[in-house]
């Protein structure tokens, strides 16, 4: 029975880190600032902007690929939304178009990677530069306003609250996480994702179209980045060409902390969900504890190492118990 529990719930290590982290930060933050209503509210509103992207990026990593262009796609999608909206298009329509744009950019990443057989690391390094450059060129690097308050229901959909407290952004995050949990763990597409990432040759010999599995995952990432860009731009009410800078590594770190293997084929959506929460909490903790910027790296490093070692420890325990 015990072996089955560990086998089934592979994210137990990440859950342990998550709980310990909350306790530590809650306890050690000056004046217990971490646990104030305002801070939790901030976490739940701003956190999902990164966390939603992590869900998609983690799925892609399980399929065996990486997307370094997420930050640039974020900026480009924000730009498209801002231009469409200020040109007079209804925000809902602008939103739908931007999601499609994100999916198309994801498709481009995917098709180049699989057809030209280039490592996704390289492809998305290129597209990262491309979309950032295009955004800067077209926007002139100028910050532009994007106030959707004239459409209160639309605005509330992305930045309102439920029951006066629970932020809409967090609801989006949880809903998308649930959707992806079902897709990855309960749907046959999820088995194709795992097979493709774990042993692409085996998957192909079983007639799984690994190319389309990967392209599909890239498109999911693109669409989620687009969603996040809209959530963000509504909150900030302005477009800035610098958004998303450096996000690619935060996203990958979050997925790794969540138990996703860099080699593909391994990871769980709940783990990825928790990994994103952990990274967001760490960044929040660094702010409220007023730790110097240099400590950020130390903390990231320690958390990632602990996650990897804990994962190894649990793997070894599983082998022992399964015997």
């Amino acid at each position: 029975m015990k072996a089955n529990v560990l086998l089934r719930y592979k994210f137990i290590g990440v859950l342990a880190i998550f709980v310990v982290l909350i306790l530590l930060v809650g306890f050690f933050s000056p004046g217990y600032t971490f646990t104030t209503v305002q801070n939790i509210g901030n976490l739940l509103s701003f956190g999902p902007e990164l966390a939603i992207i992590v869900l998609g990026a983690g799925l892609l990593m399980i399929a065996g690929e990486f997307d370094l262009s997420v930050g640039s796609v974020l900026a480009f999608c924000a730009f498209v939304f801002q231009r469409l909206f200020t040109a007079g298009l209804h925000p809902l329509l602008s939103f739908i178009i931007v999601i499609a744009v994100g999916a198309v950019l994801g498709f481009i990443n995917g098709i180049i990677t699989v057809k030209a057989k280039i490592l996704s690391f390289i492809t998305t390094l290129g597209t990262m530069m491309l979309w950032r450059g295009l955004t800067l060129l077209l926007s002139g690097g100028i910050q532009s306003p994007c106030d959707t308050s004239a459409y209160p229901r639309f605005t509330a959909l992305f930045s309102g609250t439920i029951g006066g407290f629970f932020p809409a952004q967090a609801v989006w995050y949880i809903l998308i996480a649930l959707l992806l949990v079902f897709l990855l763990h309960k749907h046959k597409f999820g088995n194709w994702v795992y097979s493709t990432g774990d042993n692409a040759m085996a998957a192909r010999s079983m007639c799984i179209n690994t190319d389309w599995v990967k392209i599909g995952c890239f498109m999911i990432v693109g669409a989620l980045v687009a969603l996040s860009s809209v959530i963000q731009i509504i909150r900030v009410a302005a477009f800035s060409s610098r958004v998303g800078t450096g996000w690619e590594l935060r996203v990958i770190a979050a997925a790794v902390v969540g138990g996703t293997s860099l080699r593909g084929g391994r990871g769980t959506m709940i783990g990825i969900f928790l990994g994103a929460c952990i990274i967001v909490i760490i960044e929040n903790a660094l702010t409220i504890m007023r730790l110097a910027y240099e400590w950020t790296f130390m903390v990231y490093g320690l958390v990632i190492m602990s996650a990897a070692l804990l994962d190894l420890f649990i793997e070894k325990r599983k082998t022992k118990l399964a015997e």
Binding site: K188, N199, C207, A322
Partner: protein, 248 residues
């Protein structure tokens, strides 16, 4: 009376300018086990890939159960009942046994959601049919021994009602006991009326389970002998010298 299952007629295969297979003529009967031997570069892998629909021959015809077929995609070969167990490409190591067995052919209900309970049940029965003593289909296959992994891959092929199972080097890198397990699986398949082709470099293994031995050399069949009409030394000579007519 043995029935003809697969017939290859004058098969030629080129990779660019390289004439990989030359005028291959081969008959395989139901429930026959065939050892495919030959040195490296002889064309064994190419031949089995043609039979499994992975490659297409430039010239020649293939007949399955008497009817002419065009194996232009592995899916077509699989639908006819040809299953292949490739060497390193059979299983995903970190996936469970059940998910591996149903890889690409997941039992699903509405909207593609998997019926995991049924997959687990059918996996267990597939393993039991082969005599594999594995208690839990949720174990990742990397935790199994080499012999058990081959067993899972073979159980998968059996479960999907294969009529011809092709094994690419099934005994390589296995311990003695595991080799015996795999050879026993091959005998089991024969007893179930399934034809088996297996590629191997180990003439002793081939000798212990094959009805017939096909010797390939530089793309040509230089020997098609009943096992009882030869022995390991003669086979070895044939492969090494690569000439016909050495067996009187």
């Amino acid at each position: 009376m043995s029935e003809l299952l697969l017939k290859l007629v004058e098969i030629d295969k080129y990779f660019g300018k390289v004439h990989t297979l030359k005028n291959i003529n081969l008959d395989i009967n139901k429930a026959e086990s065939i050892g495919l031997v030959g040195d490296n570069g002889a064309g064994k892998s190419t031949l089995i890939k043609i039979i499994s629909g992975y490659h297409q021959a430039e010239k020649g015809e293939i007949y399955w159960e008497g009817k002419k077929v065009n194996l232009r995609h592995p899916k077509i070969a699989r639908a006819l009942g040809v299953e292949t167990v490739y060497q390193e490409q059979a299983l995903a190591p970190h996936l469970s046994i059940a998910r591996n067995i149903f890889m690409g052919r997941e039992i699903s209900q509405t909207a593609g959601f998997m019926n995991e309970k049924k997959m687990a049940e059918e996996s267990m029965s597939a393993l039991e049919c082969l005599g594999l003593n594995i208690r839990n289909s949720e174990i990742p296959v990397s935790k199994l021994s080499g012999g058990e992994r081959q067993g899972v891959a073979i159980a998968r092929a059996l479960h999907f009602h294969a009529k011809l199972i092709i094994l690419d080097e099934p005994t390589v890198a296995l311990a003695v006991k595991e080799v015996q397990e795999v050879l026993q699986f091959i005998r089991h398949m024969k007893s179930q009326g399934i034809a088996v082709i297996f590629i191997t470099h180990n003439l002793h293994h081939v000798y212990s389970v094959a009805d017939r031995i096909i010797v390939l050399s530089r793309g040509e069949i230089i020997g098609d002998i009943k096992t009882k009409d030869t022995d390991v030394d003669k086979l070895s000579d044939l492969i090494v010298t690569g000439t016909m007519g050495k067996l009187a």
